[in-house]
């Protein structure tokens, strides 16, 4: 879907500021990718290049096999900019309907998007009157007015309350299920880990690592939660590390088959299992490891 071939982007009068340095990567269609990294790492520059807002100083960017602007002229894309804004005098309803028509949709698409993001009570309000969180929801609604193969969201959780963060997670999952390509730039590593398949870790304009946030390898450790302390758990899981309250313990096992057998045995003994969670190394830790002292 998106290809970067040895892309370098320099800014400034004498092009001294290197925003991206020799970046090569390929984002396949139908996946959810995140772009993470410290401030100034080049996240927004990478998105701007992918959408053809800016041109590479060196190298090439292809979107759908062609220069991004050509691709967008034919297909469009969903896009939420960082610090999203619209003219303050526009009303939410007019803005969404106008942008929906401009995107090739209908007024009904705008109403649906407004419903999806809980904007119905605010349709008559002016953009300038909205809180940061509401404005962000308008931004997300306008990005998803009509179905697009490519959706790019720059800091989508900024200003959103916890409820809307969770809803956004579901919406991104829906987009993945529909086969859309989604790219998210975010500082929120926890959120990235929940929604993305892979994360491009940028630092100083270079790709430090492409992290697999949904590793295909099954985890080797699990956290098991019981409804109440159960003494006989140690019979089934002799090497378990039990937490002080006696209801949560961590086990390391060769694979899910062994886990299933042991959990079944535990239940047979009378243990009440509430949850079994796979344990992977959190993205935050992996980013910290990759960045080393710079983190």
């Amino acid at each position: 879907m998106i290809e970067f071939e040895n892309v370098t982007k320099r800014y400034g009068r004498r092009r001294r500021v290197v925003a991206l340095r020799d970046v090569s990567l390929e984002v396949p269609a139908g996946s959810v990718w995140a772009v993470v990294g410290p401030n100034g790492a080049g996240k927004s520059t990478l998105l701007a290049l992918a959408l053809g807002f800016i041109r590479p100083t060196r190298g090439a960017v292809l979107l759908g096999g062609m220069p991004p602007r050509y691709h967008l002229r034919d297909n469009g894309a969903g896009y939420l900019s960082e610090r999203f804004s619209l003219p303050p005098e526009w009303r939410v309803r007019d803005a969404l309907r106008g942008l929906a028509r401009l995107a090739g949709g209908r007024a009904g698409d705008a109403d649906r998007a407004a419903g999806r993001f809980g904007l119905e009570p605010h349709l008559g309000r002016r953009i300038g009157e909205l809180s940061r969180g509401l404005l962000q929801r308008v931004g997300l609604a306008q990005a998803l007015l009509v179905p697009r193969d490519l959706v790019v969201l720059d800091e989508p959780t900024e200003g959103l309350d916890p409820v809307w963060r969770i809803r956004l997670r579901d919406i991104v999952a829906d987009l993945r299920d529909e086969g859309r390509t989604v790219i998210i730039a975010s500082h929120d590593l926890g959120e990235v880990e929940r929604v993305a398949d892979r994360a491009i870790l940028l630092e100083g304009g270079a790709v430090r690592e492409i992290l697999d946030t949904r590793s295909g390898d099954p985890p080797s450790s699990w956290r098991i939660t019981l409804a109440a302390p159960f003494d006989r758990a140690a019979e089934v899981f002799p090497a378990a590390a039990m937490e002080p309250d006696g209801t949560v313990f961590t086990v390391a096992l060769p694979g899910p088959a062994e886990l299933s057998e042991r959990v079944a045995a535990l239940v047979a003994l009378g243990g009440l299992v509430v949850a079994v969670e796979p344990l992977r190394q959190p993205l935050e830790e992996r980013v910290r490891e990759a960045l080393g002292d710079d983190a």
Binding site: L51, R73, N75, S81, L102, A103, Q142
Partner: protein, 255 residues
């Protein structure tokens, strides 16, 4: 087309305050002209300068003359005010990126916006100037007034639009270039620039707004002569050239 129409409706909403300001500005001229006529108009409806002088001295006479000069520049003012930030505001505020991911060419979008705003400037001027003439002079203006309005809207509208692809100070830059053009044209007429190399004079005259052509249209209007079509054509070609350059820049401009 439905999409473009929506874009233009939103553009009108963004420009509503400026339009209201221009209408208020225009009404001020009409009110001043009507007041002058009520107090000093003769039996033919003409305003008598002697009476104005008797009422308010040179201050009032100067004010009315300035007003007459200014109302003649209303199309220029309307074009610059409406076009200011036509592209640069969107670029600075990030809205250009929102439009850039829509399946439309930016040249078509901003071209349509230019046409809308230019038509609006023309329409407002085409109402104000004849009304002012009717109130102050008591006569319907010559049809050349529409050439005068069109000329100013084309020259200063396209100039502001072109500058908007470079800078947020597009309106001020357009006014600066416009005033430079007026000064240059004045110097050229009185042959104060005759000492400069002819190629340089020619180049400056081509680059600056076609003040000579605009002045010819204005003279034709003031002296009730027919429309100087060659001047109108020159002005139109100048505007078309600036639009083509602006379009070419827009198509490649980083946003």
């Amino acid at each position: 087309m439905r999409g473009i129409a929506s874009f233009l409706r939103l553009t009108l909403r963004s420009r509503a305050r400026r339009v209201a300001g221009l209408i208020a500005f225009g009404l001020l001229f009409l009110a001043a002209g009507a007041t002058a006529r009520i107090f000093t108009g003769d039996e033919h409806g003409h305003i008598e300068m002697d009476q104005i002088f008797a009422l308010g001295g040179t201050t009032l006479v100067s004010a009315l003359l300035l007003m007459g000069w200014l109302v003649g520049r209303f199309p220029l003012i309307a074009a610059v005010v409406l076009m200011a930030g036509i592209f640069s505001d969107d670029r600075a505020r990030g809205h250009a990126r929102i439009y850039a991911v829509l399946p439309h060419s930016p040249v078509v979008l901003y071209g349509a916006r230019f046409l809308l705003l230019a038509s609006l400037a023309f329409l407002m001027s085409a109402l104000l100037l004849p009304m002012f003439d009717i109130i102050v002079l008591g006569v319907l203006p010559h049809a050349t007034v529409f050439a005068l309005i069109g000329g100013q809207v084309i020259v200063f509208g396209t100039l502001t639009a072109l500058l908007s692809t470079f800078t947020r100070a597009d309106a001020w830059a357009a006014l600066f270039v416009g005033v430079t053009g007026i000064v240059w044209d004045g110097l050229r007429r009185v042959e104060l620039v005759a000492a400069l190399p002819p190629a340089f004079r020619q180049a400056v005259s081509v680059v600056l707004p076609p003040q000579g052509a605009l002045a010819r249209i204005e003279t034709a209007f003031a002296s009730l002569q027919p429309v100087p079509w060659d001047a109108v054509l020159y002005v139109s070609l100048y505007g078309a050239l600036l639009l083509v350059i602006a379009g070419a820049i827009l198509a490649r401009r980083e946003i």
